[in-house]
Structure formats: structure tokens, C-alpha cells
């Protein structure tokens, strides 16, 4: 036994410590490998944002349309401004806007717009109109 009994390094290691160490090594290699593969296989693509309507329902103050914004590229977008429009035969009836702080690469973010008119009876379009780079 060593002079400092508080020092765990100087006790004889149990096999489980080596096992933990090796499993950890494997886990870290997996993480680093994943990053490395990502570096080699993907190239930087500017954010590409696509909105998809999730649900539309009547609420106390109007009609609430919940939508999902997906960023299909490999770079994140910040301050994403989304504009939703209700139109009837190319005539704009109503417009609503919402801003997302971030939409990460390959990820989705949810938001909602609230209209006075029922979107079910009109043509609804939701699209991102601008963003900044984080």
C-alpha cells in the first residue's frame, strides 16, 4: 500500500476499470469518427428553408396555423423571417409574419401564425423570406 491511501491511482486497478476505460475509448472514437465522417462527406450548403403546415384550428382570436420549418442544408440559419399569406385568386387577403431565432442544419423548428380569415377557404402560402448567418 502506498503512503497516501487517499490516492486512488496507487491502488491496484480492478479489471472493471480497464473495461470502463476501453468502453470509453470506443465511445470517444465513435464520436470523433462521426465528426470526421461528417467533415469528409458533407460540404457547406447555404440554409434552405421549407415550411410545412402541421395543423390549423380555430382559436379565440382567429385561426391558428401551426407549421414546421425544416432546414435542408448543412449550415444553420439565424433570425429566420417567415411570411404567411392568404390569398384568393391572386389577390392578397391577409398576411402574417413570424421570426425564428435559429433553425439548425438538417433540423426542424415549429411556429405558428394567426389569421382572422379561415385558411381552409383561401389559398395559404408559408415561406421563409430571409435569414442571417449565426
Amino acid at each position: 500500500m502506498s503512503s497516501n491511501p487517499n490516492n486512488i491511482e496507487q491502488l491496484r486497478p480492478h479489471w472493471i476499470e480497464w473495461l470502463t476505460g476501453l468502453v470509453s475509448l470506443a465511445a470517444i472514437c465513435a464520436v470523433i469518427g462521426w465528426l470526421a465522417v461528417d467533415i469528409w462527406t458533407t460540404d457547406d450548403r447555404q440554409p434552405e428553408l421549407v415550411a410545412r403546415v402541421v395543423s390549423a384550428e380555430k382559436v379565440a382570436t382567429g385561426f391558428q396555423v401551426v407549421f414546421e420549418l425544416r432546414n435542408r442544408a448543412t449550415l444553420a440559419a439565424a433570425g429566420v423571417e417567415v411570411r404567411a399569406q392568404l390569398s384568393q385568386q391572386a389577390r392578397l387577403v391577409e398576411e402574417a409574419e413570424v421570426t425564428f431565432d435559429y433553425v439548425a442544419a438538417g433540423s426542424t423548428a415549429r411556429g405558428a401564425v394567426i389569421f382572422e380569415n379561415d385558411p381552409a377557404r383561401l389559398a395559404l402560402s408559408i415561406r421563409a423570406v430571409g435569414f442571417t448567418e449565426p
Binding site: E9, I28, Y102, A104, S107, R110
Partner: protein, 289 residues
């Protein structure tokens, strides 16, 4: 005569206990003020998922219990005493958080209960860990004479094992993670960084962890035996420590709903960013606790 002696003993115990309570509050404040004054933490209190908050609150109990058994108030011996002290620390965490939030005007009377309970609950976790650590860390001066005995006791206790060492790293990692995971900066940093940056950060984190504990001659440094190769401790302690830091970071980010809807590779970058402070916290915990 006998009764006087008994009374004196009791009196001393009460004094020591009250002093412990005061130190606990001091610790709770010292460790939780950065979080109490962080905007994101207040908002989390009312929007975070109740299931995840509940899980955090429940997981905090065994954490405090083991922490208490290891270092806690009055060098507790039995698990019953440890449990009592863990509950006291938890209670102090809740009271201290609530008091400070009221004092700062974040929690007000007209707020619905669901909101302020959530706010206090999420703050109580780091505050209770602080209360527990505060008790042990702020009381070094008058416990110095006991240190020799403690080390002998520790050696006999089965608790100071490899598992305890990993547990202490997890506590240190959790502590810094809870501080930083709620902030927007973690996500922003991950977005600004390329995978190359992340790779470098992961390697630096591991080297820093190893360096903190073995290379720098801090108080409580763990020295290696002469005949043992350097990489032994690296495999047995540093690498598992970094995995613990990664796991704790992932848990903290998941709890605070920072990874929801995020692609796996992006989530990995955020975890690596948070694992950097977590790794430093884990290494520091090995030295301090």
C-alpha cells in the same frame, strides 16, 4: 454533573448544526447566483416540459444522498444521517432559490403557482448541490485537524472506489453544465463552429482534463506511481471522465429542451461545446471534492 455534560454536548451539536445550515445557505448562494440571475433559467421554469423537470428533481435526490454520504454535513456516517442531510440540503436549495427570486422581483405575488413553482424547482437543483458542496468546501479551516482521521476512514470505506471517482466527476460536470446548458450561447457557438472546431475542442477537452488532474500541481492532485506508465491513468480515468462529461452535457441539454428538433450531427456539436466546461468541472471535482 452528568446532566450538565449532556447539555453541553447537545448545545455544541446544535451550534455545529446551525453553523452547517448557515454554510449550506452560503454555498447555495455562491453556487446558484449565476443561474438565479440568468434570464433563460427563469423562462425554463415555465416552459420546460414537466416530465423532464420532474425527472431532474427526482434524479437530484440520489445525487444529493451519495454526495452527502461522501462529503456532506458533519461527516455523516450512516445512510440515514446522509438522507437527512440530503433532504436538508434540498430544502435549503428550494428556500434559498425562492428567497432570491422574490428578492430580485422575478417571482411576484400575482404569478400563477405553476409558473413560480417551476422557476423555483429548476433553480433548486443547482442550489441544493451548492448547499451540499458549500458545507464541505467552506468548512475546511476548522476541520483541518480532523483531516488525518478522515483519510484513514476513507481508505476503509468501500465508497471511495473507482465508482465514487466517476460519480464525483459527474457531479462536477453536472454543476457547470447546469450553469451553461440553459444559455443560448451553447447553441450559437455550435452553429458558428465547423466540425473541425468541434474535433479540436473535443481533443483539447480531454487533454485539459488529464492536465488538470495529473500535470498541474494543484492541491489534491493525484500523483502517479513511478513504475506505472502515463497512459494507464489516461485510459482508466481521463477517457471515462470525458465520456461522463459528454453524457452529463447531453442530459442537461435534453432536460432544458435545447436539442429538440435538431439533427443528430448538430446536437453532437452542441454536446461537445457543453462538454468542454463539463470536462473542466469534472476534473476540478476530482481535485476539490
Amino acid at each position: 454533573m452528568a446532566s450538565t455534560q449532556t447539555r453541553q454536548t447537545t448545545r455544541t451539536d446544535v451550534d455545529a448544526f446551525l453553523r452547517g445550515i448557515a454554510r449550506g445557505f452560503a454555498g447555495a448562494l455562491l453556487f446558484s447566483i449565476p443561474m438565479l440571475m440568468t434570464m433563460e433559467m427563469w423562462f425554463l421554469g415555465f416552459y420546460m416540459s414537466r416530465e423532464r423537470l420532474l425527472l431532474l428533481l427526482i434524479l437530484n435526490m440520489p445525487l444529493l444522498l451519495v454526495l452527502s454520504h461522501r462529503i456532506g454535513f458533519e461527516h455523516t456516517a450512516t445512510w440515514t444521517q446522509s438522507a437527512r442531510d440530503a433532504i436538508v440540503a434540498y430544502g435549503m436549495g428550494i428556500i434559498a432559490s425562492a428567497a432570491i427570486l422574490v428578492l430580485l422581483g422575478v417571482v411576484t405575488i400575482d404569478m400563477p403557482p405553476d409558473q413560480w413553482i417551476g422557476m423555483v424547482a429548476v433553480q433548486a437543483v443547482p442550489a441544493s448541490i451548492g448547499a451540499m458542496l458549500g458545507r464541505s468546501q467552506l468548512s475546511m479551516s476548522d476541520d483541518d485537524d480532523e483531516d488525518g482521521d478522515n483519510e484513514d476512514e476513507r481508505e476503509e470505506k468501500p465508497g471511495t472506489s473507482y465508482a465514487t471517482e466517476l460519480f464525483m466527476m459527474a457531479v462536477g460536470a453536472l454543476f457547470l453544465s447546469l450553469n451553461l446548458a440553459p444559455t443560448e450561447e451553447m447553441i450559437l457557438l455550435a452553429y458558428k463552429m465547423t466540425p473541425w472546431h468541434a474535433l479540436a475542442l473535443a481533443v483539447i477537452s480531454i487533454l485539459l482534463m488529464h492536465g488538470f488532474v495529473y500535470a498541474l500541481a494543484f492541491r489534491g492532485s493525484h500523483s502517479l506511481q513511478q513504475d506505472e506508465p502515463r497512459w494507464h491513468a489516461f485510459i482508466r480515468f481521463t477517457l471515462p471522465g470525458y465520456v461522463v462529461a459528454l453524457a452529463v452535457s447531453l442530459y442537461a441539454l435534453w432536460t432544458f429542451e435545447r436539442l429538440d428538433g435538431m439533427a443528430a450531427i448538430e446536437a453532437l456539436l452542441v454536446v461537445i461545446v457543453l462538454a468542454f466546461p463539463a470536462a473542466v468541472g469534472a476534473a476540478a471535482a476530482r481535485l476539490i471534492l
